[in-house]
Every structure is written in C-alpha cells, then in structure tokens.
Symmetry: C2
Subunit: 335 residues, 2 copies
Amino acid sequence: MHKEDQLVSRITRALPSVSAHHHFQSLRVGIGDDAAILSPGGPTDWALSTDAFLEGVHFLATVHPPDSVGYKSLVRAASDLVAMGATPRDFLLTLAIPASQTGTWLRHFLAGMAQAARSLGMRLIGGDTTKSGSVSISVTVLGEVPRGHALTRCGARPGDLIYVTGKLGRAQLGLELVLNKLSRRPQFQNLLRPHLYPQLRARLGEWLARNRIASAMMDVSDGLSTDLGRLCVASKVGARIEAARVPRVAIPATLSRALKKSKQSSIEMALHGGDDYGLLFTVPPRRVNRLRRAPGFSDLTAIGEITRGRRIILVGVDGSESPLKPKGWDSFGQK
Amino acid sequence: MHKEDQLVSRITRALPSVSAHHHFQSLRVGIGDDAAILSPGGPTDWALSTDAFLEGVHFLATVHPPDSVGYKSLVRAASDLVAMGATPRDFLLTLAIPASQTGTWLRHFLAGMAQAARSLGMRLIGGDTTKSGSVSISVTVLGEVPRGHALTRCGARPGDLIYVTGKLGRAQLGLELVLNKLSRRPQFQNLLRPHLYPQLRARLGEWLARNRIASAMMDVSDGLSTDLGRLCVASKVGARIEAARVPRVAIPATLSRALKKSKQSSIEMALHGGDDYGLLFTVPPRRVNRLRRAPGFSDLTAIGEITRGRRIILVGVDGSESPLKPKGWDSFGQK
C-alpha cells in the first residue's frame, strides 16, 4: 500500500474524524477524497482542502524560480477543488520563510501566486506568517459547488469509460529537465512550462459536476497509476487501461539522449509521472454522447473502462495484459 | 510596526484579497482579524482560520513532549475561532514529518491532538501529509457563529471597559522553565501546564457573541501589549491600562532566583508574554451589568478603558503614565 495512504489511515483512526462518504450533520464528504464537502443548507455546498508545498520536498530553492513556487502552491491546492467539480473561490496562505527571503524572493513568489489567483478568480481571505529556517507553504482553499453535485472518487461502476485530460507526463518531463540541469536551455522552455506553471481544467470540472455527466472524478497529482488505484479502491471496482490509448508527452529526439540517465520512456512518464493536475473521470456509457458538449472536449481521451473485481490491468500494444502497479509520487516511499 | 504585521500588509497588497471589515459577496470579515467570517446565507456564519506550528520556531524537538505539540497545534488554531465568538467544529491537518518520527513520536502527537479535539468537540475532515526534514504543522479550523454575531477587533469605542480572562503571563513562565532547563523538576509541573496545554474559553467567547455583550474581541496569543495594540489600530482608538489591575502570574519565591537570567518580572510576563490564549474584549458601560451572568465570570478582570486618540497608556502603581509599547512575540523581530 502507498505509504502516505497508510499514514492517513493511522491519523484518521487516532483522531475524532469523519471519513469520506459518511454523511454527518453538515458534512457530505470527509477524509479520503480530494476535498471535504460541507453543506451549510443553502443551494450551494462548499469544498475545503489544504495542501503543503515544502522546500527540499516539493521544490528546490536553488532550481525553481520563486514565481513558479508561488503559482504552483496555489494551483496544486485549487486542483483538489476542481477535482470535485467545485469552483475555486477563496484561499488562506500559511507562509513560513527565512528573514533573508522576505525581499526579492517573496516579491516574485507573491507575483506568481497573484497570477494563479487571478487566472482562477480566487482571493486571499486570511492566513498566518512566521519566520523559519526554510520555506514552508500551506494553502487552504475554499470552493463552491451546487448542492449535492460534488463529484467524489467513489461513484465509478463497471462498464463506465475512463477519461483523462491532456497529455500525461508533461510535468514529469519538465521535472526531468530540471533534475538533469537542462532547464536553462532556451530550446526547452516550452517543455518546462507544464512542470512550473500547470494549468487546471476548472471549466471542465464544473461542467461535469453541474450536468451530472461523470460518475467519479479526481485530479492526477501523484501519477495515473497511483491515482487510478485510489479511485478504484474508493469505488470498489477494477479498471482496464489500454496503453496505446494513453495520451502521452512527446519527448523530442534531441532530448532523448540527454535524458538517458532518467531511463524513463514516454509511456512510463505518462503512467507514473505526477504533478500534471489534469482530471481523471469516469462516464457511464449512456452519457458519453453528451460529453461532446464539454468545454475542451478535444482535449479528452478515453483510455479504458471500469471493471468488476479489484484488479487494475494494463493492456499492452501487443495485446498482453499485466497489472498496473502504483508507481507514482509517494513522499514516504523509497524512490 | 510589528514586523509580522508589515509582512501581512505586503502580502495583502500583492495578492487579490479581501481585508477585514469589507463586506464582499458572502465574506463578512477578511484578512487582519483572528479568523475570516463567511456567510453562506443561512442562520449560521462560518469562521475559518489557519495556523502554523513549526519545529525550531514554535516548539523545540528536544524539549517539548510530542503530545503537547499535538495538543497545542490544534488549540492555537481553534483559539482564533473562539476569539470571534465562534464554536469550533472541524479541522484540516497538514503534517510534514521526517520518516523517523512516524512511529512513537507521531503516536503521542496524535494522542495529544485527539485530547484537544475531544475537549473542543472538533473533528478532522481532511488534510495533507508529506515527508520533510523537520516537523511542520499547519492546522485549518472551521467554526460556526450565529449570523452577524461574530466579534471582530474593530468595534471598540471610547469609554468601553477592557477585560481579560485568567492570569496573564502563565504560559510565559512555563516557557521560561523550559528555556532554563527546569521543566523536569516535579515541583514545577503545575507551572508548566499553561505553556504545554493551554485552555481555551470557548463557552465564554460564544456567550459574549450570542448575547452581543462585547463590542470587540480577540485572543491574547502574542502578548497583551502587542495584541491590545492591534485591537486599538483595528478600532481606531487608544487605551488606558492600569498596571495594578492586570491579573498576573505568581512566581514562587523558590523560582525567582533560578529565573534571574530571564530578567522578567511578573508584570512584564503579564504585559508581554505570549501563548496564554485567553480572551481580550471590550464592553460598553451600559452592558457591564449583564456580564455577571457570563460563564467563568469570576475569571474576568477589567484592566482599563478604551480612549479617544490612538495612544496606549500604562498607568503605573504610583500613578505615573507611560506608553505601553508592543513587546510581545514577533517571529520576525530582533528578540
């Protein structure tokens, strides 16, 4: 089992808590989904989530530009709202930084975060600041979704088609450029952007929730193999994915040699690479036709279908079948 | 100006944001108060706040027991809800810890946090976990308050009486015991508790808000001199405090000598010591009589009154007047 998921189970058992999919007073969805869903009673439910972004774990002070750190720390958190079909609204920022970084670094960090806030239509409503030895960011986000329309991970049923947005592995390729010290070369700047400035599918997420098209949804943040595994566990189903249909990042020939060290092929980046922040969702066959009206429809790809049983199978280009093991990002894993 | 407050101003200017006391759509209170207040439209408003608790800044790994770290990280955050008169309900936990601390340390941390959650009637509804080099905790808390009843910092008017709860400086004395390596002595355990396991005045806060007794309220987290200064700035008023009336921690004679190094008298601890998490509130003279029915009334002390102008004056025991400068906790200050 994914080590971070094990830790979450321990925390949930130790504290008075409410798990996902247990209705309790005003709470519709608790721990274990992308965001908690609260129902104050009016026509609108609220989605609430929190996300940490730490120097040395999620970004490197010497490599990642501060405006990307600011941009990404808000976008990552907001992705959990989009993953429920909610519209991002407000955020709280907890910022711990060394006194030496309160000048230029902070200015660029805030500029990047402001760019993300404007593009998502979000506004800061509170937070906490403190001095610390290294940069530690925690962002809490609040979104709105029509009452009862939030899309959880637990609604997928056998026969549902599995969709993803965009090409998978693009953020992973950008990360490889950074790790291989190729990020300053002008010819690779476009390949770097998905890693530094990921784009969310907020309009698509809202549309799928409002129109009740998807049966289950989440964001791809830790990699398809890991996140699809979580969706299947939550829905108590299995899945069958066709490798040939997985939309994947294109690695330019000029790069293939330089990235040899990382030993990752395009399909491996697509299956296990994290940080893309696209959407992964399932659609019952009878609703697939309506999907054509989705915002950004041309960006969607059906990669397989939900099955009975609990196995997740990858069908190779040659028709061979093998289990798709979760090999995505796990901060507690031995990678 | 308090350095942390300067930083908050910069962040607020740089990001799309909503300041305290600006009504905006569903937002009643934004940045600059203890918690943001959101109004979903029903009979209940929601208070939302976030608080960081970091190893090496807010606690010391070698000195502070893990169950106190867990207890205090939730209580500190919940104190911001109590300070608005809200009833604490739900929380999200962002926990970054070294893999080596996921065993015994984490078990005790969670036990302490569970104790705080039970005593406050709070439940965990979400969060984020990740590995990191040192322990970094961020807690987001959500509370409820009857619509329009939240108590902000900005309602104090000249002539209002200023109240505090409990004896001030008790947490500071506990901290001095820790810093002077006296925390393991059995005879000082009672003096240590206010620092390790602070108690909130949740029932009093709710009562003051529901019955519209207080005109302004906040918690004393960074020290009376600093926090009263913030309340006066928010309310655009001044204050006059009588030193003789400030309820203060008693320092046992056996301790006075041992603490000589810290050079702090009982009144200095009471005026500038942080971490007490009591309440500071103002009451118009015509409502003072009703205060007798408050939960924990015997624990309340009137220490002075709100004045016109912007000065905060401390009246000494001999009748001398001097400005009360903010000397409380400031993580970015040169202490």
